[in-house]
């Protein structure tokens, strides 16, 4: 147990001086602050009172949620993709393994340190966003909105930890950090970008749009119904395919928690939606939002657990062989 704590402490310290991590974190922090600032400004101009909008809007076209969908994975991956294989390569793993510690305390310590780092990064970013917005807006979140913000933080941390887990898994599976970084980037591109291109492609195959998209003024009722069912089918198919992706799961759940209805995230990752229930906190129910996003939380958690368990088992079975 003490071994795990020692490793946790060292890894935590390493993460916070990891240049790659700091670079990506600085970028997301900057964009988050910019989006909060611009969001708060535009809310003030249009007299909106829903505090949660600072996480879903930004006139620059990026919201905190879409930033996290896109850059969140990188935050997790940069500190995990070479967590094990770098130490294997440099021989420090052999040195550590010859000490009287349990082997799993290495991977546990690394994972906990990663989770702590990502939590600190997310909570810090969100706190700064709120700290900038409250003076600008002149009001803060209601108790219920605060709950929603905390839920968003938890969801975001879970999502980032999942990506940390993917990177950790790659770092156990591949001997070379150069392989695991490529695998990590591949996973990131596939789940954050490609999946939406693929889903668009499949949608066009399954339910292609007719040449004439605009319903003419003299359209019959049946034509309108046809048009509507076609669009619905397209939506259902697209959602079905996209929901394989944790990025989609995250953005859907995050927007629901924020009281905003879907569509904030498309394959470009930058489409923005405004909260639909602008009316104020009374129409927004966090308990309802949480219960409807419960499956999203569960699926993300299961993905994370699967990644970690596979990495864990492979790591425990890993044998040091002559020749490194």
């Amino acid at each position: 147990m003490s071994g795990m704590f020692v490793i946790f402490r060292k890894e935590l310290a390493d993460n916070f001086v990891n240049k790659r991590f700091l670079m990506i974190f600085a970028l997301t922090l900057f964009l988050s602050i910019a989006s909060a600032y611009q969001g708060a400004n535009s809310m003030r101009e249009s007299q909106l009172t829903n505090f949660l909008a600072i996480f879903t809007t930004g006139t620059s076209g990026t919201s905190f949620i879409s930033l996290m969908v896109l850059f969140g994975p990188l935050l997790g991956l940069t500190i995990s993709f070479d967590a094990i294989n770098r130490e294997r390569k440099s021989g420090t793993l052999s040195t550590v393994l010859t000490q009287p510690i349990f082997r799993d305390s290495i991977i546990n310590g690394k994972f906990l340190a990663g989770a702590a780092t990502l939590s600190a990064a997310i909570l810090g970013t969100m706190a700064i966003m709120m700290g900038i917005s409250i003076p600008l807006l002149g009001f803060g979140p209601t108790a219920e909105q605060l709950m929603a913000i905390l839920s968003l933080a938890a969801l975001t941390i879970l999502y980032l930890c999942f990506w940390f887990g993917i990177g950790l898994l790659f770092s156990v599976l591949s001997r070379e950090p150069s392989t695991s970084i490529l695998a990590s980037i591949g996973a990131w591109v596939t789940f954050s970008i490609l999946i939406f291109i693929i889903s668009g492609f499949v949608v066009d195959l399954v339910a292609p749009l007719p040449y004439r998209v605009v319903v003419p003024t003299n359209a019959t009722a049946s034509m309108i119904t046809y048009e509507r069912t076609l669009m619905e089918t397209r939506n259902v198919v697209s959602n079905m395919i996209s929901s394989i992706s944790p990025a989609y799961l995250y953005s859907e759940a995050a927007l629901t928690i924020m009281g905003s209805t879907g569509g904030a995230f498309s394959f470009t990752g930058f489409r923005v939606s405004m909260p639909t229930r602008i009316g104020g906190p009374s129409t927004f129910n966090i308990a309802e939002a949480l219960s409807s996003t419960w499956p999203h939380f569960t699926v993300l958690a299961i993905c994370l657990v699967v990644c970690f368990v596979v990495a864990y088992i492979r790591f425990l079975r890993y044998e040091i062989r002559p020749g490194g």
Partner: protein
């Protein structure tokens, strides 16, 4: 006599189809410096890894200080300090930070760790470099720091895998002296693998020669040399300033001498018992001076080639 500190019984490791270590049975007494010799791929590293509990044996058992390497591998690692093959330290940390981290992993409280680290850095002669990042260290310095790292837990056994590989001659000498000193002062049992025979000859009390996973010979270097002499007979090599023909006949007449050969300026005497005394007397009787005379204690290289070549 007390129980040997390391005992292996029919220790075997198979990687896929390749038998890396084949029914290895050996024991090492406390306070010995045991040298594991053999060409690359003979199974030395695998043996050391199994003794450390880092690699699980396919069959057979091994105990270190009475702990089973499989069942009590964590206890084994409490009493064994090791410098495994390709072991590394954190390049971006200083020597002292590295040792502090290893000490923490061993559960040594920070305050006593600091003291121990200063003493250890002194032992391995790295005090002046204690706050230098390991990335700037030479190979020899790294190995010495690696030994310091292994010593931090105050082990009873030190396992070294090719401790001087890639180290320059001066660094090699320093490491050799360090190992000898540790053995003397701390009564530390040392097992070291090496393919550098000269080096092993310098400090090992006993050697084991491995070939294709099997231990083909295990004894003191003197005894191994004697074994070969018994098989091959003894030989005397002499260089004299003058070589009268009757001298050769005289030496041939000494009981126990099998043959006398003159090769360039040397006399080679093949004998069944040590006749060096009589030979030197006979040479002085003829008024010649001995410039050089040595009996062929078989050098380790010859021993090694004998066992390895068979």
């Amino acid at each position: 006599m007390s129980e040997p500190i390391i005992i292996t019984k029919a220790l075997t490791k198979v990687y896929g189809k390749k038998v890396a270590v084949d029914h290895l049975t050996m024991s090492v007494e406390e306070g010995e410096i045991f040298g594991l010799l053999g060409p690359n791929g003979a199974g030395k590293t695998t043996t050391l890894l199994m003794l450390l509990g880092l690699t699980v044996p396919t069959s057979g058992t091994a105990t270190v200080c009475g702990y089973d390497v499989v069942k009590n591998s964590r206890d084994v690692r409490k009493v064994v300090g090791a410098l495994p093959e390709f072991a590394g330290l954190y390049e971006d940390m200083t020597a002292r930070e590295n040792l502090l981290y290893i000490a923490a992993l061993n559960g040594i409280p920070k305050r006593s760790a600091e003291e121990r680290i200063m003493a250890l850095l002194e032992t391995v002669d790295l005090v002046s470099e204690s706050d230098t990042k390991v990335g700037k260290f030479s190979r020899g310095m790294r190995q010495r720091l690696g030994i310091a790292q292994a010593l931090i837990k105050d082990p009873r056994v030190l396992l070294l895998d090719e401790p001087t590989i890639g180290v320059d001659p001066r660094g090699t000498k320093e490491i050799r002296e360090l190992i000898l000193r540790l053995n003397r002062e701390r009564k530390l049992t040392v097992i070291t693998s090496s393919h550098l025979l000269y080096e092993v000859q310098q400090f090992c009390t006993r050697v084991g020669i491995m070939r294709q996973g099997k231990m083909v010979a295990m004894d003191t270097i003197d005894n191994l040399s004697k074994n070969i002499s018994e098989k091959e007979g003894m030989r005397l090599e002499i260089k004299v300033d003058r070589m009268p023909p009757e001298l050769k006949m005289d030496i041939e007449g000494i009981p126990g001498v099998v043959s006398v050969d003159l090769i360039s300026d040397r006399i080679f005497v093949q004998m069944v018992r040590d006749v060096s005394g009589e030979v030197s007397k006979s040479i002085t009787r003829h008024g010649c001076n001995i410039l050089l005379m040595r009996s062929n204690e078989h050098p380790l290289e010859e021993i090694f080639m004998k066992y390895y070549g068979e």
